[in-house]
Symmetry: C2
Subunit: 241 residues, 2 copies
């Protein structure tokens, strides 16, 4: 059985991996979410940070353990799972495109995180709040419109529901979770932009309605967004209503 | 022949792709570096930004065009080229590891860029210089030591010259260029850290001594670092000598 190692108290980048595992319907052991008495807890994650611990080193979680193999880096894990379960196209060009799109999603994630931590992830939000106000305004007004337009354009070119065509891929799950996160963190800015992105909105709806995903989203396995991790709701960073 | 589309006046993320092409010894058309009268210039790049233009959309350069296929995102391009030329291992685990390492290098690149543009890539350095001083100090003192130690540890585990073992991969070329960039941008901080990382230092030396790479680095095709792009030498952001 796969083992997933990720912080137990926030969705973060680990959630992008969970969505792939849940959509595949494969069982996995979400190790750090076990009770501490059963080997869970945040120390499971922190013990492997920066390539420490006994895993083949990865810098930061999520880590997926598949037998003797450990894969780190969210897009690399999603790509690995897609290949392993025959859920990426055979065509190398489409495979490269799936990876490219997930890397683009990962870039938006990093920028979204930087809105509340522009100076350093090592400082508290409160210690960089003035800078965050400036960074978030630029993100909302200059960057996010471009990102959303990019995904809308990508779907328009394909002319089908999903980013690679008629079949769902991990990149669609990634875009779903990105939209979820943006709507949590910056509801006003996101609503406004998504109103102008009907294809992205439809993809988000379709992914969330898939039977396995819908059941997962209702389950206790789904961790709610909160003020840890990437997508945080600080109303002062959002646009006015 | 491959076409590479990237800003003609800075090494940036495009250079990580050039190093792969140069080490492979395959010819490529570095389109934007042609004279403008022959179809070159920065407008070649900017016309495709954010998925505009007639390519299958990629958000930002570099773009690699291989016949009908366009691949964007530096790590996806490197992975595609490695597969296409039989230069990644057949083993899916090692392939995932190569990708994971390149994604980690891409993360360091983004953090290095954020030292001089902590608030936004859309503002000038001069308009975020105070913030850059704080961000760069945290990068130098808290983050960079962890990144260098991570790669040193990864090489130690493998016990051979390169990140995947005895054979060079695109991740080694990436680590070479990362070291080049860090030594340009933050020479004092980098020298200090590399003194404690003999395996990373040796890998950097070995890669730079490879015949094709050494010839490339001496050629006019190699663009010198400068105060555009990722790695910029602003002495006030470096450690004291």
């Amino acid at each position: 059985m796969y083992k997933l190692i990720y912080w137990p108290f926030l969705p973060g980048r680990g959630e992008f991996v969970r969505l792939v595992l849940e959509e595949l319907g494969v069982p996995y052991d979400d190790v750090a979410r076990r009770p501490e008495a059963e080997g869970g807890g945040a120390s499971v994650v922190s013990g492997h940070l920066y390539g420490q611990g006994d895993l083949m080193p990865g810098f930061a979680p999520p880590y997926l353990i598949d037998g003797d193999l450990t894969v780190a880096q969210m897009p690399a894990i999603c790509h690995y799972l897609g290949l392993r379960h025959g859920r990426v196209p055979a065509d190398e060009g489409l495979r490269a495109r799936a990876l490219q799109l997930q890397l683009t999603i990962a870039d938006v994630i990093s920028e979204a995180h930087a809105t509340h931590h522009p100076l350093s992830s090592g400082l508290y939000y409160e210690d960089q709040k003035d800078e965050a106000l400036r960074a978030a305004a630029t993100f909302r007004e200059q960057r996010l419109p471009k990102w959303i337009a990019f995904f809308e354009r990508a779907l328009q070119r394909v002319g089908q529901t999903f980013l690679l065509g008629g079949e769902i891929s991990y990149a669609d799950l990634g875009l779903f979770q990105l939209v979820e996160g943006l709507c949590y963190a910056l509801p006003n800015a996101s609503r406004h932009l998504l109103d102008g992105a009907p294809r992205v909105t439809a993809l988000h709806q379709q992914v969330g309605d898939r039977p396995r995903l819908a059941a997962y989203l209702r389950s206790e396995r789904r961790i709610a967004f909160n003020e840890h991790g990437i997508f945080r709701r600080y109303p002062e960073l959002d646009a006015a209503d």
